[in-house]
């Protein structure tokens, strides 16, 4: 395709070895009408400036690598079309994360939060592989399915006003993940996770801003997960009981 159009990209640059604070750099590049924002960043990397660092891989909106702030909003850059924007574009690293280099943010804190909700099936008696599968009705699947669709792109952390003020906040994706397991008919770990959810900086820190669900590129609705998790954590505490959801 050749439809000569040029565009100006203003990109945040930061190399901790050289820069005291982040700076910006402008690139004027030819763009194609069917490009995503990521294509433009890749073009700069490949053809204009090899020193620019960013993460990407699948280019089909499923690996979660390519989140960046585009004109101030967190976006999955392989999913958003360049043509949605004007002639100039501001690209920055995801907000609310420490920056490692250029458009690359620190993920370790996120990974710790992720693991802290025990994102695995907890059950008293594990089935042997030869015993076949659990029965789970389509309706039981539907209860948690949506919350299992998170690609860990971290856009919701960039959008969340609570994370902005309180970096330790467990945050939308991790809560949705814990809730996903709590809602799974095969899981018996609700009590353990609700204990976690009743702790400081978790579900009760959420201020209902709903920004997380608005920016989610996969329509996961983490805000709904947080609300449901809140309710469950309270009910669980109020009844003072652990009611196993599976028969003995």
């Amino acid at each position: 395709m050749s439809d000569a159009k040029t565009m100006k990209l203003v990109i945040t640059r930061f190399d901790p070895d050289v820069d005291a604070v982040p700076r910006t750099q402008e690139y004027e590049i030819p763009v194609q009408p069917d490009w995503k924002v990521l294509d433009a960043v890749n073009f700069i990397k490949d053809e204009v400036d090899g020193t620019l660092s960013h993460r990407w891989s699948c280019r089909m909106a499923v690996c979660g690598s390519c989140g960046m702030m585009v004109n101030g909003e967190p976006k999955l850059t392989c999913k958003v079309a360049l043509s949605d924007y004007g002639d100039e574009l501001l690209i920055e690293p995801l907000a609310n994360f420490p920056v490692v280099r250029d458009l690359v943010v620190e993920m370790e804190g996120f990974m710790d939060k992720f693991k802290s909700v025990k994102p695995w099936i907890i059950t008293a008696k594990e089935m042997a592989a030869e015993e076949g599968t659990n029965r789970q009705s389509p309706a039981e699947l539907e209860v948690f399915k949506q919350f299992s669709m998170c690609i860990n792109c971290m856009l919701c952390y960039s959008a969340c006003p609570v994370v902005a003020n309180e970096p330790e906040f467990l945050g939308p994706a991790a809560i949705a993940l814990g809730h996903r397991y709590n809602m799974d008919s095969r899981d018996e770990g609700q009590a353990e996770r609700n204990e976690i959810f009743r702790g400081e900086g978790t579900v009760f820190s959420c201020s209902y801003a709903n920004e997380c669900s608005e920016v989610c590129p996969k329509n996961v609705d983490p805000a709904a997960a947080v609300n449901q998790a809140k309710l469950n954590a309270v009910i669980d505490w109020a009844t003072g009981l652990v009611i196993p959801r599976k028969g003995p």
Binding site: M60, T133, S137, R186
Partner: protein, 572 residues
């Protein structure tokens, strides 16, 4: 001197195969320390993009014999039959495990796991979680792996070299992408699970990270690559991006149509018989190319294309079973498949070949194992059946993990000084490459030349003269890549350096593909020669081995294990 980290088992790769191996080790021997080294965070690796499903016998109308026969026939009789038998028998237990670990498999009304039809499979045996199967399997495996404290992750570490002492592989040199430091990650056995190499081609379903690193690492350590000439073209990629539209679209009833609106697989004889759209991939990709050559294709900015028509399936089914396909169609080609056919063309998808292993995943280098797409355990022969490879990652990832444990238990740690010295050397090499402004060659330019040589030489149909030209170009590129020019001198998250290392790996792998292809003067599975149109069991019923030599690749042969199914004409 580089830092040394000590573990018992070192696994390179955090996709389905690497994670499954790590879990197998952790469950079997909680006291063994596992290093899980991955150049991207595990949930980013390319298993995540698999859409359609994972095969294992699940229904009363199915059997191991049928799954085995479909697989061997799909392979055009180049698969090892003992491997197939082991695979089909282990497959159901592996998918059951995934279910126990929380994989959200799609369900039948009675709560049992649902299965769908797939290409080359005689009955519905492909388990699925809508059309995001790789995504769900990967996240399930990754999340499950987090419960094991014995698994120590090295996320965003790029392995650059296998460390070998006394003829035994005992670790890897790896570059910490964030700090730029090289370290030696040592163990008593190493498992490669680094995935495929689709990025040696310009038009592929594979993500940017699929650069054949593990193949190149093993190859340069003296381990042969096997059956590299067999590259799978998937019939249905989106023109331009190469993004995959899963075979599950046809499993759910979709049609392939030419520009005359004709279901050419039904109307014309392409050897797929009544299977029609559910024929094996090699045959359907050839049929599409022939339709294009016959002038029955649409013309577009990214070459000629055909139609994948789902419009008769209805919105409800598409939303329930193929929601991702709808999303991909809308976002990446501006087509809503509920209302319009999807433009498609054959696209490089999967490497049947890889690091030569036996049924245990053991390579010819003691202490080194390989599983998943990086390996060639010879399950897929000359053509893989869709949905066998996710299951392959599980079955052979687990087995490699367990066999590596046995090996480690009987093996010493090796000479640490010698291993560290090798990593020191590797560090010096990487330091010299980083920010090497005195070079004259540009990464993106060489990558373009490599991928276009591969497209010309190693396409769906191969000609002897273009293949020869391809081999020559690659030999030249192997020379030119030593004169790369790198602009980025920073040690922190230097992705230009990673691209350079990946390019060097890809050129080695590409050369192995092209040389192996030139040597096989027959047509079998995905390897189709214009000049040698028939399968030739008399002369070519063997595995091709390609070994590294500084002077250029050397070729050898390995027997195919037969015994259960006699090779027969492949007609559906």
């Amino acid at each position: 001197m580089v830092d040394v980290a000590r573990h018992d088992i070192v696994i390179v790769g955090g996709g389905a195969a690497g994670l499954r191996a790590a879990i197998a080790v952790a469950e079997a021997s909680p006291d063994l320390s596992v290093a899980l080294v991955s150049k991207v965070y595990p949930m980013r690796c390319h298993t995540v993009s698999a859409e359609g499903g994972a095969a294992a016998v699940a229904r009363a109308d199915d059997s191991f014999e049928m799954h085995g026969y479909d697989t061997v026939k799909g392979s055009d009789f180049l698969a090892d039959q003992d491997v197939i038998r082991y695979f089909v028998e282990e497959a159901p237990a592996e998918l059951n495990r995934l279910e126990h670990w929380g994989c959200p498999w799609s369900r039948n009304d009675d709560g049992s796991v649902a299965t769908r039809a797939f290409g080359g499979m005689t009955t519905k045996r492909t388990w699925f979680a809508t059309d995001k199967v790789g995504f769900h399997m990967l996240h399930t495996l990754f999340q499950h792996s987090m419960r094991f404290d014995s698994v120590v992750r090295y996320d965003e570490y790029f392995a650059t070299k296998l460390l070998v002492d006394g003829g035994v592989c005992r670790g890897v040199a790896a570059l910490d992408i964030r700090t730029g430091e090289v370290s030696a990650i040592l163990g008593r056995a190493v498992i490669l699970a680094t995935g495929g190499a689709g990025r040696i081609f310009p038009f592929t379903t594979n993500g940017m990270i699929k650069t054949g690193d593990g193949m190149a690492l093993a190859y340069r350590a003296g381990v042969p690559l096997k059956d590299m000439e067999f590259v799978q073209y998937h019939p249905t990629g989106l023109p331009g991006t190469g993004i995959l539209i899963t075979e599950a679209t046809r499993g759910e009833g979709g049609y392939l149509k030419n520009s005359e609106g004709e279901r050419f697989l039904v109307e014309r004889d392409y050897g797929v018989g009544t299977k029609a759209e559910l024929g094996p991939r090699d045959m359907i990709s050839r049929a599409i190319i022939q339709e294009i050559e016959a002038g029955r294709a649409f013309k577009g900015p990214y070459g000629e294309y055909l139609h994948l028509d789902l419009t008769h399936l209805g919105e409800e089914l598409i939303d329930k079973r193929l929601p991702f396909v709808r999303e991909l169609g809308r976002i990446y080609i501006g087509v809503d498949p509920v209302y319009e056919p999807i433009p498609i063309r054959p696209v490089v998808h999967y490497m049947m070949g890889g690091v030569d292993t036996d049924i245990d995943g053991a390579t010819t280098l003691p202490g080194l194992y390989a599983a998943g797409e990086v390996a060639c355990v010879s399950l897929n022969g000359a053509n893989r059946l869709g949905s066998n490879s996710l299951t392959e990652c599980l079955v052979f990832g687990a087995r490699a993990g367990l066999v590596a444990v046995e090996f480690a238990n009987g093996s010493s740690a090796g000479n640490e000084d010698a291993l560290r010295a090798q990593a020191d050397e590797e560090r010096a090499h990487i330091d010299a490459l980083r920010g090497r402004v005195k070079g004259g060659e540009k990464i993106s330019q060489l990558r373009r030349e490599m991928t276009s040589a591969m497209e010309d030489g190693c396409g769906v149909y191969r000609h002897q003269d273009t293949l020869r030209a391809c081999v020559q170009s690659l030999a030249q590129l192997r020379g030119r890549v030593s004169d790369l020019r790198l602009e980025d001198a920073s040690r922190v998250f230097n992705t230009e350096l990673i691209s350079a290392l990946e390019l060097i790996n890809m050129i080695d792998v590409a050369e192995a593909v092209a040389i192996s292809a030139l040597d096989r003067k027959e047509s079998r599975g995905a390897h189709t020669c214009r000049e040698y149109t028939a399968r030739d069991d008399q002369n070519y019923l063997y595995h091709t081995l390609c070994s590294f030599d500084p002077a250029g690749p050397r070729l050898g042969k390995k027997d195919v294990t037969l015994g259960t199914w006699e090779p027969e004409e492949r007609k559906y």
